[in-house]
């Protein structure tokens, strides 16, 4: 993907992220994600219905990379089954960690395929997957 297009997608999702803002609703599961290396600190609320993610919302303070990655991740995961969500997450983390991955299923998340060139930003890109992982661990215990 052209780097200008990547920047445009990241910036759009940073400045107008999907589903920003939380509200009280007990039917959602809440998780937090933050980084030890930087100041990102986000909270998520996720609703699952019949083995499908039907809604994800988030709020908090975070940089352009983690905010945009969260926004794109939300767009990618809503409507997906838990199995598909796990598959997307696995491949996303592989991409960020410079391992072999399936780019087909990542769609717009591919904009971060070169984030490894900024090592201090890798953790920012991983913030949403950290949150979804925690969510998955929570629902498995339920």
């Amino acid at each position: 993907m052209d780097s200008n297009l990547k920047r445009e997608i990241i910036l759009d999702n940073y400045q107008e992220p999907m589903n920003r803002g939380l509200f009280d609703d007990d039917s959602y599961i809440r998780v937090k994600a933050n980084s030890e290396n930087c100041i990102d600190n986000l909270e998520f609320m996720i609703k699952v219905d019949n083995d499908k993610i039907v809604d994800i919302r988030f709020d908090g303070e975070a940089c352009a990379i983690s905010t945009s990655a969260t926004s794109i991740m939300i767009k990618s995961l809503i409507g997906k089954s838990i199995k598909d969500v796990k598959n997307i997450l696995t491949n996303y983390k592989k991409m960020i960690n410079e391992e072999e991955f399936d780019s087909e299923i990542l769609g717009q998340l591919n904009v971060y395929d070169e984030i490894c060139m900024q090592p201090n930003r890798k953790n920012c890109a991983l913030i949403p997957s950290q949150a979804i992982d925690e969510f998955l661990a929570k629902i498995e215990k339920m």
Partner: protein, 398 residues
């Protein structure tokens, strides 16, 4: 000034993160290297030449600290790992022993985490009550607000002399006098003041003063707790072991050494203490008043250059120290610091360990410029130029 003494500055770097840690001058590195290459030895245990050299340098650092902050005796100087350890020693070695349920401790919301969390933990353990004194419209602590906060139950005031985000300089002489009159223990976090200005332990009637070596040209891993001797005598150590005991027997009897040795169990950071001694001598040689004056003038210069930029919000332009916190409007603090790094300008972005300050200033994260005497007007000019031309910030950071 003195730029030539700092290796990192030869690399075209502009270092504005002195609130986090400072650069180390050659003399500090040389003194530590000499310990490792010429007279490596443990302290107080050897009868050989190298050990005697080390003992002398280690012990003499207490005298250097005593002269530097004007306490009564070198017995009042305890080496710790840094400000955080010093404050934890005060809270859990002294306060836990003498405070009672319902006793009030006064803090502010602009304190560093290390001067809040130990107190919160103590409140959880023994039921002391923490009260946060009001800050004024510029997020500073006035003497009036200290007076208003004191009640019959107030037993301790624990505050930073200079706060690390706002950089306001608290009037510790006046507050110390109030504490003396009202029989309140006065704990001062000197992490951001001792490196930058003259701090007088006796004049300010400080009971406990904490500071870190690495924020004042010294190495990491060493700091100081200065306490009034009587209080240190009553305070319990947090660590027990070699070097701090006079004897111990199989019937569980033991006796500890006198202050300050009873607080320094195990092998201390010897090279670091020697390095700290060199750092303090270096600072005294320049003169703390001169350093403070220089930094204030440099900050005023920076503020005058940035004030006209409507794209930038300054949070503490009037505070009397070398700290300036700001944000580029609409840009997350971390993006700004990554952008500045592109031009070899090192700053810090974040909440700077003062997570409660958001209650006052309404934002959680800022970019912080924290200056030292080796920063220059040319450094400021370059920073201002880069900030004034930051329209392409996202092109650079993304």
């Amino acid at each position: 000034m003195n730029k030539e003494d700092f290796f990192m500055l030869k690399d075209n770097i502009i270092y504005f993160d002195n609130g986090a840690t400072t650069l180390k001058p050659k003399c500090v590195i040389d003194a530590m290297e000499k310990y490792y290459t010429v007279h490596t030895s443990n302290i107080h245990r050897g009868d050989y030449k190298a050990s005697m050299i080390t003992n002398k340098l280690y012990d003499n650092t207490r005298n250097i600290v005593k002269e530097f902050i004007n306490c009564n005796s070198d017995k009042e100087v305890v080496f710790t790992s840094g400000t955080t350890m010093s404050i934890n020693m005060i809270v859990f070695g002294y306060m836990r022993k003498f405070l009672k349920k319902g006793d009030e401790v006064l803090l502010t919301k602009s304190e560093h985490a290390s001067n809040v969390l130990p107190w919160i933990k103590l409140a959880e353990e023994i039921g002391i009550v923490i009260k946060y004194m009001d800050l004024d419209s510029e997020y500073a602590l006035t003497v009036d607000n200290v007076l208003k906060s004191i009640s019959d139950k107030t037993k301790v005031i624990s505050i930073a002399h200079v706060t690390n985000v706002i950089g306001d300089v608290r009037d510790i002489n006046a507050i110390g006098q109030i504490c003396r009159e009202k029989n309140i223990l006065f704990c001062v976090d000197g992490a951001q003041s001792v490196p930058h200005m003259k701090v007088d332990f006796k004049m300010a009637n400080i009971d406990f003063l904490s500071f870190s070596g690495h924020k004042m040209l010294g190495p990491t891993g060493v700091g100081v707790l200065v306490g009034k001797e009587k209080l240190l005598n009553d305070m319990d150590p947090l660590f027990y072991g070699g070097g701090m005991n006079s004897f111990f027997e199989a019937d569980n009897t033991y006796e500890l050494k006198k202050v300050p040795t009873k607080f320094e169990a195990g092998t201390p950071p010897i090279a670091e203490v020697i390095g700290l001694g060199e750092a303090i001598k270096y600072l005294m040689n320049i003169g703390m008043d001169k350093i403070h004056k220089y930094e204030i003038e440099l900050k005023k210069y920076l503020v005058s250059k940035l004030e006209g930029n409507k794209n930038i919000t300054l949070y503490n332009k009037n505070s009397n120290s070398g700290i300036l916190s700001f944000n580029v409007n609409g840009v997350f603090a971390q993006e700004t610091s990554i952008y500045l790094n592109h031009y070899n300008i090192y700053v810090r972005a974040g909440n700077h360990c003062t997570k409660m300050l958001k209650d006052n200033i309404g934002i959680k994260n800022t970019v912080r410029i924290s200056m030292y005497f080796y920063n220059t007007r040319e450094d400021v000019d370059k920073l201002v130029n880069v900030l004034n031309n930051c329209n392409d910030i996202f092109k650079i950071v993304l």
